[in-house]
């Protein structure tokens, strides 16, 4: 077995998870413990000094979480991964490892709204700034990069607009500038798109969404692509310089092509602390076992719903990359040919009031602020997540008065369509 690389569905079930050697438990046990007993003082010293593999304390590593980490690393084709309490904390630890005060990130301006807030506002307190670029005009990335830029950040498939980014072209630019490309792959998942194969250096996820897939557990992860040379320009001192946190260890030299994941763990997670609960790791792992089946069905259902809505008299436009006439269809065919995911936006005839009426009349769709559940979900951003903005600001953010976002679930697609039809009717 080990001589052939197993297929995606095999990895989704097996990667990282051997039977428990002391009990024979075949499902990964939930190691719901804070701490782990040392064999002796020397063993403890080896663990604290990073000289031996093993667990000390669940803030840093946990055997249930480790299975999740290895599983996602394998699915993304990375060298290692670090799971965190949420998608946002994965972003925090990733950038904390890359950035010093005064540095900046060049990011696509089409990102999940929460990420835009994090970059614009929260990161200021760390002395980090963001420069926005337009994924539909790659020159804007090049123009934004300066000597203090430490990373490019994009989403493979942007939430919510259905925008597919040209990962290879942006990666070429990042390589030319000697900075890593960080890709949030939450909306596509590695089933639809594997950014590392297209040149991404680091992949992030909110595991809260399609990876867990059942709307029951928060989680995030950082996947190390293993390809970036952290020592080349000396611009990433957490990786290339002796670290006082560990008596002068140089992480890149010691851990080679998985040093980034280790640095996020031992310098980021250890000190900042957003550890995922082992119980959540277990729930997400169980979800990942069916990722290939779910993601295909999500995408197939969403395409049928999008096709139906694009012919609907009460719908003015649909933004979904799997539709042949969509602006991002060619990029979708290149980067995620199996499907364009579950989430898209459309515009209702009648604007704000029609959007409010639609969400309030749904019976099957749940009105809430999430994506990536087995259930179909709907939200009218202008009256909820974006209600504090002016109309102009709403439109600029892709949350104009007529915009409705759905995350198509795994129910019978006829029932999903019927619910939207009845809710759109007068």
């Amino acid at each position: 077995m080990s001589e052939n690389i197993p297929g995606f569905s095999t990895l989704a079930i097996h990667a990282g998870a051997a039977p428990d050697p002391s009990t024979g438990a075949r499902a990964t046990p939930i190691y719901q413990t804070t701490s782990f007993v040392f064999d002796d003082v020397d063993h403890a010293a080896s663990l604290f000094g990073l000289q031996a593999f093993g667990n000390i304390y669940t803030r840093i590593t946990n055997p249930t979480t480790a299975v999740l980490e290895e599983r996602v690393a394998a699915l993304e084709g990375g060298t290692a991964a670090l799971a965190t309490a949420s998608g946002h904390s994965a972003q925090l630890l990733c950038f904390h490892t890359l950035m010093q005060p005064g540095d900046n990130i060049v990011a696509a301006n089409k990102l999940y709204g929460g990420s835009i807030n994090q970059l614009n506002h929260s990161f200021k307190s760390f002395g980090w700034s963001v420069k926005w670029a337009d994924p539909d005009d790659l020159n804007t990335f090049e123009a934004a990069i300066d000597e203090n830029t430490k990373a490019i950040f994009i989403e493979s498939l942007a939430n919510p607009g259905g925008i597919v980014m040209d990962i290879e072209a942006i990666s070429a630019l990042a390589k030319a500038k000697g900075i890593p490309l960080v890709v949030d792959n939450t909306m596509a998942t590695p089933y639809l798109c594997r950014p590392i194969e297209h040149g991404a250096d680091i992949v992030l996820h909110s595991l809260t969404k399609f990876m867990g897939g059942h709307g029951n557990s928060m989680g995030g992860i950082i996947v190390d692509g293993g390809s970036f040379d952290w020592s080349a320009g000396g611009r990433y001192p957490l990786l290339s310089e002796p670290r006082p946190e560990y008596q002068g260890i140089v992480l890149h030299e010691t851990f080679g092509n998985f040093a980034f994941a280790i640095a996020c763990r031992v310098l980021g997670l250890r000190d900042l602390g957003p550890a995922i609960s082992p119980f959540n790791s277990f729930m997400i792992l169980t979800g990942i076992e069916t990722l290939p089946l779910r993601m295909q069905r999500h995408s197939d259902n969403a395409k049928k719903v999008a096709l139906h809505l694009s012919g609907h008299s009460k719908v003015n436009w649909v933004s979904y990359a799997a539709l042949p006439e969509d602006k991002h269809h060619a990029l979708q065919q290149k980067y995620m040919p199996k499907g364009a995911g579950a989430v898209f936006t459309f515009g209702v005839e009648g604007g704000y009031d029609a959007g409010v009426a639609l969400v309030s009349k749904c019976e099957l769709f749940s009105h809430l602020a999430n994506i990536g559940d087995t259930r179909s979900l709907i939200i009218h951003p202008a009256s909820t997540t974006h209600r504090q903005l002016t109309d102009d600001q709403k439109t600029a953010a892709g949350a104009g008065p007529d915009v409705v976002r759905i995350s198509v679930g795994l129910e019978e697609v006829d029932d999903i369509i019927a619910d939207l039809d009845q809710a759109l009717s007068d």
């Binding site: 077995m1 050697p21 007993v37 593999f53 055997p63 480790a66 290895e70 991964a81 799971a83 080679g256």
Partner: protein, 176 residues
Amino acid sequence: MNHDSYSDTYIKGILDEVKTVAMIGASANTVRPSYFVLKYLLSKGYDVWPINPGQAGKDILGQTVYASLDDVPDVPDMIDIFRNSEAAGQIVEQVLQSGKLPKVIWMQLTVRHDEAAKRAEAAGIKVVMDRCPKIEYGRLSGEIGWAGVNSKTISARRPTLKSGFQHRGLTGKSES
């Protein structure tokens, strides 16, 4: 043989077969990679003979340090090289001339000398380059997964336990 990638069977065969390791470039500095590997290999039951002319006669982790390969107690099963690629080539040349041939010559991460490898292989020595035995042992035993690292192996069999709580071995007998 192709040195761009190695099969798990090849690497595991080496780690199973080898009992004694001469480590060229072993450091007494507790945060250097060679110190990590020395400590790890000792914990897995290998006899490791550190070689470092600057430390000769002293000991590292309880092991006597030797000035050169000529001084170690016996012909080692494996020579593990923590030097740069050029130095590694010279070491291979000296080994071949000495006639005291190890079963394996292993060069650490970033160390690679294809010409030297060819000559060593022609003399019947197995060669591994640009790899770390600690990482490979951790990968094949499953220990490395505890750090979230992709072991690139899957198995539905029982992992091999060694003594103590968090201590795995390669396949074979469990110790406890």
